[in-house]
């Protein structure tokens, strides 16, 4: 910044004589600027300290303690880490499920979102209608959408299996089958593709038409136009979609827990025992494990270990995004 304003602190050759009277005024101006900035930022500065920095440090601290919320925390070193990583069978199952969901959901959502975006851009008649139709499911509150899907895909009386039966196709157990529960969740998130569709649609419309014209003049066919004009132009957006998709899917929680509860027929929220990850642990995810270990077993220390694992992965992907798209942060 100082270099932009052109005046350094120390004397700098011949110019120093001229700039001598300026520094006090400039310093005052800068100080005023800084205090204005702090004033505008103050709500967030408090928020950052109280709702981000403090809990983050606490999470690290608790991960090294045994704490049940009633007795004072006692330091136990890496015991919680070894417990989670070597003795807790649920952890590895939840981690495997989370990785499965991240890979499959992000890949399918990106391809499907791009496909629908491409389709919308090509539509000439009724684009408004189609755009709304594809976007609407994204708006359905996750709990409501999950309960709705649990009904549609319910093996006994659901319309989906009824249709499949009419067509003579196999009728899987969907949310009640350990093999099909995760694919069912993927279908649910593909239904809510609206956000990605809009982002891809906008980026496809931003590809300069001249580039397509130039490619056509060079005799490129439609696949080559897509490969050499569209794809390079939207690569940053694909990258954005993948990274934010990974971070979002790592947090996959509401749909998994609601689907498990509805499908298992447990009276939700009533305290009736619910086997998390129903059916047979196939929908366990790491965020559910944080909730379960922390708020059901009151083992806050071990829950914090999983929190830290989630944090490290999320920040690694955020750093990747920042490196590739420095424009999001801007220059100093």
């Amino acid at each position: 910044m100082a270099t932009v304003l052109g005046i350094g602190r120390g004397p700098r050759g011949s110019r120093s004589a001229v700039s001598l009277p300026v520094p006090p005024a400039l310093r005052r101006k800068r100080r005023r600027e800084l205090s204005t900035a702090v004033g505008f930022l103050s709500p967030w500065l408090i928020g950052f300290a109280v709702f981000f920095a403090y809990p983050l440090i606490s999470t690290v601290y608790f991960s090294f303690t045994h704490y049940d919320g009633f007795n004072a925390p006692t330091f136990v070193g890496f015991k919680n880490y070894t417990y989670i990583l070597t003795k807790n069978a649920d952890f590895w199952q939840a981690a495997r499920n989370t990785v499965w969901l991240v890979v499959v959901m992000v890949a399918l959502r990106t391809v499907f979102g791009l496909g629908i975006g491409q389709l919308i851009v090509k539509i000439r008649s009724g684009a408004g209608f189609f755009r709304t139709a594809f976007y609407l499911p994204y708006l359905a509150p996750p709990v409501a959408a999950t309960i709705g899907f649990a009904f549609l895909f319910n093996p006994g009386t659901g319309p989906v299996n009824h249709f499949l039966g009419e067509l003579g196709l196999p009728q899987p157990g969907w949310f009640t089958s350990p093999t099909w529960s995760k694919p069912s969740l993927v279908l649910l998130t593909l239904w809510g593709i609206g956000d990605l569709m809009v982002i891809f649609m906008a980026s496809l419309l931003d590809v300069p038409t001249e580039q397509y014209e130039a490619a056509s003049l060079d005799g490129a066919n439609s696949f080559q136009r897509w490969r050499y004009v569209t794809l390079p132009n939207i690569t940053p957006i694909i990258m954005f979609a993948v990274v934010t998709g990974v971070i979002q899917t790592m947090q996959f929680y509401t749909q998994a827990i609601v689907a498990g509860q509805v499908a298992s027929g447990v009276v939700g929220n009533s305290g009736q025992p619910f086997q998390p990850g129903y059916p047979s642990g196939s929908t366990w995810t790491l965020p559910q494990l944080v909730y379960n270990i922390g708020f059901q077993n009151f083992d806050y220390g071990s829950a914090c270990v999983i929190s830290i694992i989630l944090f490290v992965v999320a920040m690694a992907f955020t750093a990747l995004l920042m490196r590739r798209r420095a424009g999001l942060v801007g220059e100093d």
Partner: protein
């Protein structure tokens, strides 16, 4: 979105600001122009071979139109049908809802009245509206000045502040939930209420700050300079110049925040699960299904009622919404 003449190719609809995308490397394949084989351009006075080519191109265009629209119609049906099935089931009798029938024998509209007799349903509405309205208002009030400072002020540490905002935005809520819960429950004694979710919104929401800042970057500096020349301080500039220009972004942020409060499941589960009087719709809906296990019709009526406000709001604010989604991914 009005669909005009079919010739108009990918023209981006009204969009504000320059969509400065990063690397836009263009690789044009093939040989250099000049050897373009008989480009079909002029319609009048062309040789007959060229006219045939033109006709062929036209036929191909029509075929593409048919293909694109058939795929779009099929997909739109798949996207819309779940809503239709949920609705049809919601107006069935108790016994018919347990069958595989699609079409209601008797249209039991009173189901929608009956769900309000379910204990708690009215309270959940009240709580959800309170949470969403208060949360949205606080978020907008606290985030606008922060976003303005990050977009337009020059001060040391601006880049670091922006990195911190993005890190907060990407942070999975489960990472800090244990210290946060202990803070609100053990120190503030606010568990069993929604205040632990509402109060932090008075201190800026990272996602809203990020989105607003991306938009404010597109406001030309000249407007702000003109206001300063007229003797406005930063506060007056923000209120009189920036706010009116930022209306689309502010409405997008308000909508997103309203929806995220409305849809929130994890927050109420952590803080309010022990106190049904503080449940929200998203949280209560699941227990509703539990208690009315066999009554899919009632569950579907309640599910649709929970979806309805979000969808109604969307239809009134579609444009702001789409612009907001675009802003998160494409610009910057």
């Amino acid at each position: 979105m009005s669909t005009g003449n079919p010739q108009s190719s990918a023209h981006s609809p009204e969009r504000t600001g320059a969509p400065a995308m990063s690397d836009t490397a263009v690789q044009t394949p093939g040989d250099t122009p000049g050897s373009a084989p008989a480009t079909v351009r002029s319609r009048s006075g062309v040789p007959s071979s060229s006219a045939a080519a033109w006709r062929r191109a036209k036929r191909q265009k029509r075929l593409e139109w048919i293909a694109v629209h058939s795929v779009a119609i099929a997909l739109a049906l798949i996207f819309i049908l779940p809503f239709v099935f949920l609705f049809l089931t919601s107006v069935m009798t108790d016994s018919q809802a347990l069958t595989t029938n699609f079409w209601p024998q008797h249209w039991v509209w009173s189901n929608y009245r009956t769900v309000f007799n379910v204990p708690g349903f009215g309270t959940w509405w009240k709580n959800t509206i309170e949470y969403a309205v208060l949360g949205t208002a606080l978020t907008v009030l606290s985030s606008v000045p922060v976003a303005y400072a990050l977009a337009k002020f020059r001060f040391p540490g601006r880049r670091v502040a922006m990195l911190a905002v993005i890190s907060m935005m990407m942070l999975p809520p489960q990472v800090i939930i244990i210290p946060m819960y202990l803070f609100w429950a053990k120190q503030m004694h606010l568990d069993g209420t929604l205040w632990p979710l509402i109060i932090p919104m008075a201190f800026g929401d990272a996602y809203s700050i990020f989105l607003l800042r991306q938009f404010l970057l597109t406001i030309p500096k000249e407007y702000l300079d003109a206001a300063k020349v007229d003797g406005c301080g930063e506060v007056r500039t923000l209120l009189k110049v920036v706010l009116p220009m930022a209306k689309p972004a502010i409405s997008a942020v308000a909508l997103f925040q309203f929806f995220s409060c409305w849809n929130d499941y994890f927050g109420p589960q952590i803080y309010a699960s022990d106190n049904p009087a503080a449940w929200t719709l998203s949280y209560g809906l699941q227990s509703f299904h539990g208690a009315h296990q066999t009554n899919w019709n009632m569950t579907m009526a309640a599910t649709l009622l929970v979806m309805a406000p979000v969808i109604v709001v969307f239809f009134f604010a579609q444009k702001a919404f789409i612009e907001g989604v675009t802003l998160t991914g494409v610009k910057g």
